[in-house]
């Protein structure tokens, strides 16, 4: 199981009590120049994994220890004028979904918002660090 599929599974579980929001396993590609998450409001899309490998420790015999950071980005767009009453709960559930990924030395998640016309897009970023 990849971190992306684990995260999608956990987000699905966390949002199971919210009938107005669903999660797609599709990548958030553009359709007709519009990202799917802007086209399909109230659907969570998780992007492909981005992986960065950095040197954590250098040793004299070049037996280097590396640190791998896997970044996942998720998107949720909804009506900016009529947001869900429990949008804060939805956001919190999306943020803590990172806890499903184990065997990492560190994980964190945050989000930012952007409003275009009457649509607000929540962009979540998840980072998973392994050594």
């Amino acid at each position: 199981m990849s971190k992306r599929s684990d995260l999608i599974t956990q987000i699905t579980t966390n949002l199971s009590g919210h009938s107005n929001i669903s999660i797609s396993e599709e990548l958030p590609f553009d359709s007709g120049g519009i990202p799917l998450y802007d086209k399909n409001l109230n659907v969570v899309y998780v992007d492909e994994e981005e992986i960065v490998v950095e040197q954590l420790y250098r040793t004299l015999d070049q037996g280097n220890v590396n640190q791998t950071t896997t970044t996942l980005t998720a998107y949720l767009s909804t009506d900016a004028k009529n947001q869900f009453n429990d949008i804060n709960t939805v956001v919190a559930n999306l943020l803590i979904a990172r806890n499903v990924v184990t065997n990492v030395t560190d994980s964190n998640s945050d989000y930012e918002t952007e409003i275009t016309d009457d649509v607000i897009t929540y962009t979540f970023e998840y980072n998973f660090i392994t050594v």
Binding site: T59, D61, G63, V65
Partner: protein, 161 residues
Amino acid sequence: MAVINVTSGDQAILTLGNVAPDSDGIISGGLQIPFVQDITVNATPGTVRYSTLDSTASSAFTTVNENSISLNVLVDDEVMFGNATATGNSVEINGLLPTSIAKTEVYFSVAVTGTGTTGDINISGQGFIGGLAPTASIDSAVWLSPMEIIVNGELTKTAES
């Protein structure tokens, strides 16, 4: 004359064993310590200072040398705790920590400029493993440990022939 570049991965290598180094300073079948972050060869003459009424500065005379090798390593489980299936020397089989606990004297060699080339410099001797303090924390992600070899006797510098 040139600085010694230690970025190639085959220099500044510490080897331990239970047999004395050969005439080139190399320990046959020795255990090369992996994941060394830094290593320091301490060759320190003991000194005693004294003052006299006819001098504005203190004087000194030497006593015996106090030599040691100190280093920091990332802990490799087999090297630190032993590898029972190894066929090498007793240090490799028993591991650094048990060898230190047993106070077993070991031979060591530090390949200053690497090995295998005429003129390569080795510093060798014998002593006791000490100073092991394996430390783990969630921030470092791996076990780290300092280590010291308390040298019993003189350091010997040899050049490969």
